[in-house]
Symmetry: C2
Subunit: 444 residues, 2 copies
């Protein structure tokens, strides 16, 4: 008997009209449907038809960028995913929630609720909030310093996991005759008193099907990687080249041992924006079409946001101006470094940089046929750069439908991807264990 | 042409196994389903089959009472209602959210999202949190003083309504050709700087179908009534007698003018726990059956919580011990007074008081045939005590099914209740206007 073959995991990262910043202007896009629940339900069902592990929504606590030139604003992820849970059966549901401007009691509770609602399909992409626009919606004139955000995030996770364990799995005894609903010896206070939070507990939600929602993380700074090594079970990351991907993968996996974890306890899922054509020429033409639809003013504002440097009025046909060092950046440190290196490495003008970033905001973009895209995924997967991928369709719904109908079958033929759902929870489909409850004594 | 006849509005207040504190022990109840989404979806569809205006979930930010003797804990209301929205079409969806331990940006956003998800069926029951158990889940060792809670609630509403108006209804222009998604002249910051909150805005959700969710309030203290007169469009209230109901109704309606509102701008919905039988004897028998299933220890703990006075060890067959004055109560002032008066008026022992409170926690309980229950509703409705009712089935699902199948038809035959949904939003079904956006200039 041989060990089961290692297969890859695919997450559909959904975003309004699509990931390309000009997607909403493309004829195939549906920007008029970004507040239409059925639109997202259809996308989720397409992903489920393709047997993908999960769908995922990013989030921010302020109106991102400039809604003047992009289809921004729409649903809040937890309410949206609950409504999607009601019309799907298998696919995982991953919501982004920030630890910076939330309270652990609320957040732990909502994820436990979503996990019950979906019969064990909830995932939490844990982020910290690093923009001034977000801070200003929560009574602050400046945002929390980078390392303090991670201090708070660690304590937040400490509290949340205590709350998820506050009901043992068999706490509800339901003895109608004796009048005993729950065995209160199996309910545990969190009794947390820390630097950021004081939380008594227990949670007012019984332990959920997965015990804890799947924990996902997406920051690739030094603090981010250390946080991921300690808590995360899946990591979304932006890596431009195979070599960068391999370095990141090895680095992150090597950190797990110090937290008593093994390399199998965490999946690395780099982002890829696949621009799919039935020929390579067709794919390249779609890529050019999207570039031509870009509004440079919007791209420049986005780039300014990514770098934390105001580029308004800069010469689009000149190089990227001199930038500060990463250590002086208090926003998204890893994205800053990636963008600066990309411009330097390929000697891009600002206009070219904006075009390169338009489809994936720093994530890798690859235009080609389904076979070529499958080749790329297989190479990263077999060469130590990925356990799976975060699929970012440039234009929705077509980019997702094309991936499901044309790329997934190639991966299946190669034995790289499932041909049916075998697990019933998100953890089971990702091949990750259900966490034991810290309070439950071993029996037997 | 005559004016349309005034008809009543009905809200189904849903609670785990039912409102009676012994409901979970009754053979007709389904306490094993309180974390089963389909259970609540079925209840919502039953209410929708009965053409009710809305369903409603109460909420607290701590594990209520003692889970040892009641089916407590379960879904968080906003995630639950989003998942119910996906399988219903007409019925309003009202969630309780506290202004004491939340942030207005999050709360305004989630209700705007639910309103989009449900195509205009979201309602917010605005509460303040007054228990020590809740405070201790949010980093405090004591809860906020009663009048300060209402100060905070007023400012919270001020911010939330600004955020709901921060996108004008026609802000999205979707000009693909010109590259303009939104007319940013029609996006408005909240620019709020107050005592409790600083919120820049705009919201990251476009204006929702109802403009603002329906605003509901349920506190009947002096502060609560004044808050309701200013903001609420529907009020849930506990009133034991017709005379008390009439006094409350008149009092509340008389306060509206000072906020530039008319009596039609706010609906008063007293709670009623109808114990339904095909004969009066059958109804009384069900009432007795539930009383006999009560766990006195649980009732005493609940009563202690309502009064803010520890009654542990008190003689069940003696009278209610001496109580402090309402002005010294910092929890739910109106419930305190109601319970104290009920015990005094009817000369009840503690055991009798616990039995009377078991079915409705201070709300009116009425056991009878469908005709008798309809008589009661009609009397309160026509005698100036109610614009409709908050229906609290003692046992679920049977208590709701019986109401829909047997009481609703009687009300319809009497011309007191709709025979089809005529509006498409919750506001339309309640006969309430869609709020104008404060920033939109009149045209024409």
């Amino acid at each position: 008997m041989s060990a089961p073959r290692r297969t890859l995991h695919l997450n559909a990262f959904l975003m309004n009209a699509g990931h390309h910043d000009a997607a909403w202007r493309h004829p195939a896009a549906s920007p008029e449907r970004v507040t239409d629940l059925r639109y997202f339900q259809e996308l989720a069902r397409t992903a489920e038809r393709g047997l993908l592990d999960s769908i995922f929504f990013a989030d921010g606590l302020a109106l991102w960028g400039k809604a003047r030139h992009n289809a921004l604003g729409g649903f809040e992820p937890l309410t949206l995913l609950s409504a999607i849970a009601a019309v799907t059966e298998h696919i995982g549901l991953i919501a982004t929630v920030s630890t910076t401007f939330n309270e652990p009691f609320h957040t732990a509770r909502k994820f436990a609720s979503l996990d019950h609602i979906s019969n064990g399909r909830a995932g939490w992409n844990i982020v910290t909030s690093g923009t001034l626009d977000e801070a200003r919606n929560f009574n602050r004139e400046e945002h929390l310093e980078h390392s303090l955000r991670y201090d708070r995030a660690r304590e937040f996770l400490d509290v949340a996991t205590k709350l998820w364990d506050s009901w043992e799995d068999d706490a509800i005894v339901l003895d109608k005759e004796g009048g005993v609903y729950a065995d209160t010896d199996k309910l545990h206070p969190a009794a947390h008193r820390g630097e950021y939070f004081g939380v008594a507990g227990p949670l007012n939600v019984p332990r959920s099907p997965q015990g804890h929602p799947l924990l996902v993380q997406a920051g690739s700074s030094e603090d981010g990687k250390e946080f991921a090594a300690r808590y995360a079970e899946a990591v979304f990351t932006a890596q431009q080249t195979l070599a960068d991907g391999q370095t990141f993968y090895k680095d992150l996996k090597s950190r797990l041992a110090r937290y008593g974890r093994t390399e199998d306890d965490l999946l690395v899922l780099p982002g890829i924006a696949p621009v799919i054509g039935s020929t390579e020429a067709e794919a390249k033409a779609l890529e050019r079409e999207l570039t031509e639809l870009q509004v440079p003013e919007y791209g420049l504002a986005q780039l300014s946001g990514m770098l934390g440097v105001d580029l308004t009025g800069a010469d689009l046909d000149g190089p990227l101006p001199a930038l500060p060092e990463e250590r002086d950046i208090n926003g998204n440190k890893s994205r800053f470094t990636l963008v600066a290196e990309l411009a330097r490495r390929d000697g891009l003008t600002l206009r070219e940089l904006i075009a390169r970033l338009g489809a994936g905001r720093g994530h890798r973009v690859y235009a080609g046929t389904p076979e070529q895209i499958a080749d790329q995924l297989e190479e990263w997967f077999t060469q130590g750069a990925a356990d799976g991928f975060n699929i970012m369709a440039p234009v929705l719904p077509t980019g997702l439908t094309d991936f499901v109908d044309h790329v997934v079958p190639v991966l299946q033929r190669r034995g790289l991807f499932r041909t049916e759902y075998t697990g019933s929870t998100l953890r089971e489909n990702y091949g990750l264990p259900r966490p034991a409850n810290r309070y439950t004594r071993p029996t037997g």
